[in-house]
């Protein structure tokens, strides 16, 4: 089946679950074209974050999934830039230090989320509450 995932959760248990789900979906032979990161979810693509010792480096593990399975990892542009997540183009445009987006991630508009929704058979959201 065609799957699409929306990740709203910042690095933590829900985003680890999203990653685990994404890996398992690919392993079960499903198509996962794109994972869209929105709101605090974009923090999973922070290239300048340093994982504490003994914790997973989530951006690196997402990037590994992207390279091994061809999954596109898209950070919502408006969520990303307000949080300092900039690719080279955005860093230059806003005259900020950068790029700060982790390798394997790209920045894009919400249209990419909507487009994924139209194409998929299964759509799952991963969010983290208080």
């Amino acid at each position: 089946m065609n799957y699409a995932l929306l990740v709203l959760a910042p690095p933590g248990s829900a985003s680890r679950a999203a990653l685990g789900f994404a890996r398992a979906a690919c392993a079960r032979g499903h198509q996962l074209e794109r994972v869209f990161f929105l709101d605090r979810g974009v923090e999973n693509g922070m290239g300048t974050a340093v994982a504490p010792q003994g914790e997973r480096d989530l951006p690196a593990q997402w990037a590994q999934l992207a390279s091994e399975q061809g999954v596109e990892l898209v950070l919502c542009i408006s969520s990303a830039i307000r949080r300092g997540l900039l690719d080279a183009t955005e860093a230059q445009r806003h005259e900020k230090v950068g790029p700060t987006v982790a390798p394997g991630f790209t920045i894009g508009g919400l249209g990419l989320l909507v487009e994924t929704c139209t194409d998929c058979e299964r759509l799952l959201t991963f969010g983290e509450g208080c």
């Binding site: 929105l38 709101d39 605090r40 508009g109 909507v114 194409d119 969010g127």
Partner: protein, 131 residues
């Protein structure tokens, strides 16, 4: 479907997307992300429906003044929804009661739904996004 052609009408009926928003309008950006997604979905002719549950009904308070804290008014974005043909808006009856807002004026397109109505919405759409 090509990403540079947002119009899908005339082809197959687009899947119906239900956006469930449970967050209050300020304090976090989640409620705003839900509305931004609704606007994007409308631009792609997805005819999204919005369901305001739980604290989400607080987004509907009229007369929000974003300028009072130099923030964008959530209410203004809500007011713009009809311009994008987002005309299916559902509001949790129990939540209105919980916050003492049962007499609050709601957007013209809004329909107040009880628990059974909420269930019907969740079952009747093709896809759900939860915010």
């Amino acid at each position: 479907m090509a990403s540079d052609t947002p119009k899908a009408s005339g082809q197959a009926e687009p899947p119906r997307l239900l956006l469930v928003t449970r967050s209050p309008p300020y304090g976090s950006s989640l409620a705003r992300s839900a509305l931004d997604t609704a606007l994007a979905a409308a631009a792609f002719d997805m005819a999204p429906a919005l369901l305001f549950l739980d604290h989400g009904v607080l987004q509907l308070l009229p007369q929000q003044e974003g300028a009072a804290s130099e923030t964008r008014s959530h209410g203004k974005v809500l007011d713009s929804l009809p311009l994008y043909d987002i005309d299916r808006i559902y509001v949790d009856a129990a939540a209105l009661l919980h916050f003492g807002l049962q007499d609050m004026p709601l957007p013209a397109a809004a329909e107040v739904v009880d628990s059974t109505g909420i269930r019907a919405l969740l079952e009747g759409c093709d896809h759900i996004l939860s915010f």
